[in-house]
């Protein structure tokens, strides 16, 4: 039994050096075998590898063009974009609550347990079936930050 099966959160390794070098990376936090292939099916470049429908998705970073289609469509809301821009870190996350924040709003940045780990500023909101929100914050919390509250 994995610990995350009991707690509902897990902390995968994230290579911050690589992130800083590349500027932005896609993170898939879907460690369990479930019958779902949405990310693979929506990806325009076949960057998500999954042989059978219940396999755990893995990313072929070479192929990924960071179009965020998978982030928007994943029913588990388990895919995120992390990035660094100058002195700042940021995340792009799906958000399905009201009110939908506006550019410039200050929000509480939450970790995987819903604990506040800092403040962030909303930089961009992309409306769609699931709105995607870009929140900027201190790069120190890139490993923890996975959600926010208005």
């Amino acid at each position: 039994m994995h610990e995350w099966e009991c707690t509902g959160f897990f902390t995968p390794e994230i290579d911050l050096d690589k992130l800083k070098k590349k500027g932005k990376i896609l993170v898939i936090e879907c460690p369990q075998r479930i019958p779902c292939d949405v990310c693979r099916e929506v990806c325009p470049t076949n960057a998500i590898i999954m042989e059978k429908i219940s396999d755990v998705p893995t990313l072929n970073e070479e192929k990924c063009v960071l179009c965020l289609k998978c982030v928007e469509n994943c029913p588990g809301l388990a895919i995120f974009l992390l990035g660094v821009e100058g002195e700042k870190g940021y995340m792009v996350v799906p958000y399905e609550f009201l009110p939908i924040p506006k550019e410039g709003d200050e929000v509480k940045v939450l970790d995987r347990k819903g604990k506040e780990v800092g403040r962030g500023i909303v930089k961009e909101v992309r409306m769609g079936d699931t709105p995607l929100v870009k929140v900027e914050f201190s790069p120190d919390i890139l490993k923890e930050a996975r959600g926010f509250k208005t």
Partner: protein, 521 residues
């Protein structure tokens, strides 16, 4: 009024909807076009709908879909109507049963000291004879079963002639499995009829706001209620006939009796039948589990998503399977605070990604915890939860009080198999499939030739597999009735492979084990 004014996914279009007035225990209640009695009452803060037979305990909604009888009321003089499935009408007179002056402040509960029990009128108070009818009326009233008004016309079943309809395939139940069965059957060229007891088809899908998992072919990535729309349209295209508000009452001599709008009775004579009647929510044993505010997860979803009612302010969810986890997320979306999701087993029952979604919003999931009692006088004011050890026994001294006004039970479902039993299908008990199920083979055919099952009524699983099973059952039924071609047979084989693939994970394993047990039984 606790209505959901704004919702991130759904639009209830309140401003376009007509207001409808009716009375409940002489008090004026205002609901909206599309409300049932129960949803309008709940939205007006009336949670106590009736009193129980024996001890006049307050009772409210539980299942919200007409399956539990927790919500019986008197409507325009006719007793024992289910408030949760009766649409409101202007000027309707709704009264609670077995209570004076109202369900909320019931003076008759004072009589409880006398230990009057339901049915006492058949045991005691039998003489003198001329007083008997009076006693009957009195006790029917006091004990809450109500008296039927003289002017209610009695339906005479014995003298009637009923219209009869012949079809190739009759599908009973219009949820995801039933729709896919009817569609597949019609596409094979079989004359197909689908009957659905509610006013629209879609079943479980109508209540789901989240995007579905599963295979792309079965609309994964689309939100549940939208899948219902798409499927309805596809069903229409397929040429299958659909009858809503139609209840399949029973089976006799190769015919199924169906009743539309509670009055039009007719017979259907099918060559084959697909039963996709879904499942009923289970309850759990604990003190005060009948208190208004203790509801089934599906009932809560129905209130929120079909009627736009905010079901409470603070909720506790019992059960961390996918239903419980998804419900927690949906409650958050409706603006309800979720105090915790508790799970008696040491590990979370549903998908990790669903759990992570609510954890991220700060909802605690307490594994190895169960509910000890609901607390409250007339409705839920809190819950006492307790830790359990590895043998699932309560650990004394670990009790904790959680303040909440809603307790949602997401503790599993039982397949609805009544009509299958009546048809004489062999029934076996398979815990992995949710309890008693009709034994069926890979083509979904039961022990009775020509009778098929699909979806939750064949074993509790989830919507995507229900749709695939439905399609398999629909093709099988059509083939058996002499319709369909080789290509349909081939499609069925492909579907079986897809089903296998869908179950090739820790969640599907349980079902695979269950089905194997069933074949061996």
């Amino acid at each position: 009024m606790p209505r959901i004014r704004e919702h991130p996914i759904l639009d209830f279009k309140w401003s376009e909807r007509k207001k409808i007035k009716f009375t409940f225990d002489s008090e004026e209640i205002i609901g909206y076009d599309g409300d049932t009695i129960a949803s309008a009452l709940y939205a007006s803060g009336k949670r106590v709908i009736r009193r129980s037979f024996k001890y006049h305990r307050p009772r409210g909604l539980f299942c919200g879909i007409g399956q539990c009888s927790s919500c019986l009321v008197k409507v325009n003089g006719i007793p024992n109507q289910k408030a949760c499935v009766t649409p409101i009408e202007e000027g309707m007179v709704v009264e609670s049963q077995g209570s004076i002056p109202s369900a909320e402040r019931d003076l008759l509960s004072l009589l409880d000291a006398l230990e009057l029990k339901h049915g006492i009128q058949y045991e005691k108070f039998l003489g003198p004879k001329f007083l008997r009818p009076l006693y009957f009326k009195l006790f029917n009233f006091v004990l809450g079963s109500g008296n039927v008004k003289e002017e209610v016309p009695k339906v005479k079943f014995s003298e009637g002639y009923y219209p009869e309809k012949e079809v190739d395939v009759l599908v009973i139940g219009g949820g995801p499995a039933g729709i896919c069965a009817a569609k597949a059957s019609a596409e094979c060229g079989a004359r197909t009829l689908l009957v659905e007891e509610r006013d629209r088809i879609g079943g479980e899908l109508l209540k789901q706001t989240h995007k579905f998992f599963g295979s792309r072919r079965y609309y994964s990535g689309m939100r549940g209620f939208r899948i219902a729309d798409v499927l309805s349209k596809e069903l229409e295209k397929s040429g299958a006939e659909v009858m809503v508000n139609t209840l399949a009452i029973g089976y006799l001599d190769g015919k199924i009796g169906v009743c539309r709008d509670e009055r039009e009775f007719s017979l259907v004579k099918p060559k084959c039948i697909v039963v996709s009647t879904g499942a009923t929510e289970r309850t759990l044993m604990f003190e005060n589990n009948d208190l208004p505010g203790v509801m089934g997860a599906g009932g809560v979803q129905t209130l929120m998503h079909l009627y736009g009612v905010k079901p409470g302010e603070e909720a506790l969810i019992v059960g961390s399977g996918n239903v419980g986890l998804i419900l927690a997320y949906q409650l958050l979306q409706a603006g309800v605070e979720v105090k915790a999701v508790i799970e008696i087993l040491p590990k979370i029952g549903g998908y990790f990604v669903h759990a992570a979604k609510i954890r991220r919003m700060g909802v605690e999931i307490l594994t190895s915890h169960t509910i000890k009692r609901a607390v409250g006088r007339k409705e839920v004011e809190g819950a006492e939860i307790v830790k359990v050890d590895e043998n699932l026994r309560e650990i004394e001294g670990s009790e904790r009080f959680i303040e909440c006004d809603l307790i949602c039970l997401a503790v599993g479902m039982s397949p609805n198999i009544e009509i299958l039993r009546q048809m004489g299908c062999e029934v076996v008990y398979i815990p992995e499939l949710g309890g008693f199920v009709a034994k069926h083979d890979e083509n979904m055919e039961t022990s009775r030739a020509g009778v098929f099952v699909a979806g939750d009524s064949s074993g509790i699983e989830e919507a995507t597999t229900a749709m695939i099973e439905g399609e398999i059952a629909g093709i099988s039924a059509a083939l058996k009735s002499g319709k369909g071609r080789k290509e349909h047979e081939e499609r069925r084989e492909k579907l079986k492979m897809l089903l296998e693939e869908m179950r090739d994970n820790p969640f599907g394993e349980r079902v695979v084990i269950g089905k194997k047990k069933m074949w061996g039984a």
